[in-house]
Subunit: 217 residues, 2 copies
DNA sequence: CCGTTTATGGTACTCAGTACCGCCCGGTAA
DNA sequence: TTACCGGGCGGTACTGAGTACCATAAACGG
């Protein structure tokens, strides 16, 4: 069930009525009437009253899945950023609709629950691909942590933009995802990564310890 | 509304009927009748049909909150492990009831949604306390990431135990929470931390780059 | 032109959740 | 003992989401 004309009219009617009267005060009958269709048609297009608030969830999920599927372990870092950027830019393009949705999800408990369920499907998507990239070793806790971190970072940036606290959402996303995954991500065998942490000691003082640790690795 | 006798009987009746007929097939009327009370009394004890599956959510949440409130920045690490251990041991003590709940939440979508909503309340609890410990600096992304990581680690260990794949859940929890938070946790200013990542190059070859990065820091 | 999908609207039903009311029962004061 | 009162409980009635089913009409292929 792609974006047919009926679907679009139902979404517009729903957002209009939700803005006027609130979510709970608006019945499905009223939405269908506003869109000029029958109540049955509404439930043919949307599985629930909550689903009409997230009409593009399926397509976006598929796009993210496709982006992640086209990556390999070597290109995983970029894939994580770009896949989450797909979601972010979709919201950015929506503009006021995204802000209206934010107002609803922060107000109506049922919609907050639905949003969390949606985020869960993203998290599972990332986790599944990460499992493949990480070789599905003895433990998949790392994949779960990374997937969760990416989704959390994305949501954080998105919320900041929705509140008007971000001028460069795309840049913030790359930075946030990097922060979220940098420390958890194991370095590829052939690559070289240098992690710099602030230290109160002199570099020379640390050298023996660093050398010893690297030798053990 | 603490754990009155009526509440306990409702919970037992509900789990009995859910096991026999499934969640959707069991009406609230049937649960109330099985417990020997009226339908009204059920909704006086539980806000929804789903809530009866998580009867101890409120008390556990309060216990976790109390444990986190008794900690400071210096004792944050232990507090994170012990607070999540409160939740874990509660499930461990439940035994078969916890496994029955797991069977339900993995099967019934509505219950999965309710469980996710519960986990969200834990995550918010951890996040709020972490914000205080981290000094609520310029950005609270770190608190969110850490809170999410702790909850994810806990859920991972709990699920492994529920599936019978863990002999030492408490030990696994400490390890998992440590892994989840170690890399994200910022080093205190006066401390020195050395992060070792595998590298295909010789140490001597890396020295100039390391020195340059440290100087910049 | 006809048979067959396909989308739609309407009707009827189940059930969760809410509001309200009347009842009973234990405690308290006169 | 009687009168009063407050809290817990059961029953009734209602709204509204979601499902099942059926009839119809338009589109479509032969």
């Amino acid at each position: 069930m792609p974006a047919t004309a009926t679907r679009r009219r139902l979404v517009e009617a729903a957002f209009r009525l939700f803005a006027e009267q609130g979510f709970e005060q608006t019945t499905v009958d009223a939405i269908a009437a506003e869109a000029g269709v029958g109540r049955t048609t509404f439930f043919r297009s949307f599985a629930s009253k909550e689903a009409v608030v997230f009409p593009d969830h399926g397509p976006i999920l598929a796009a993210v899945d496709a982006r992640l599927a086209s990556a390999s372990r070597a290109t995983a870092d970029v894939a994580l950023v770009e896949a989450s950027a797909i979601v972010l830019t979709t919201y950015l393009d929506e503009g006021e609709v995204a802000r209206a949705r934010y107002a609803l999800t922060t107000t109506v408990p049922a919609l907050r629950a639905a949003e969390v369920a949606n985020q869960r499907s993203y998290q599972q998507l990332f986790r599944n691909h990460l499992r493949g990239w990480l070789g599905s070793g003895d433990d998949d806790l790392l994949a779960e942590l990374l997937a969760n971190a990416v989704v959390t970072a994305h949501n954080h940036v998105l919320r900041r933009w929705l509140r008007g606290q971000s001028e460069d959402p795309a840049g913030d996303l790359a930075e946030a995802v990097g922060l979220a995954t940098r420390s958890l991500r194991p370095a590829a065998d052939t690559e070289t990564q240098v992690v710099v942490l602030r230290s109160g000691r002199d570099f020379e003082e640390l050298l023996p310890a660093v050398r010893r640790l690297l030798d053990e690795g």
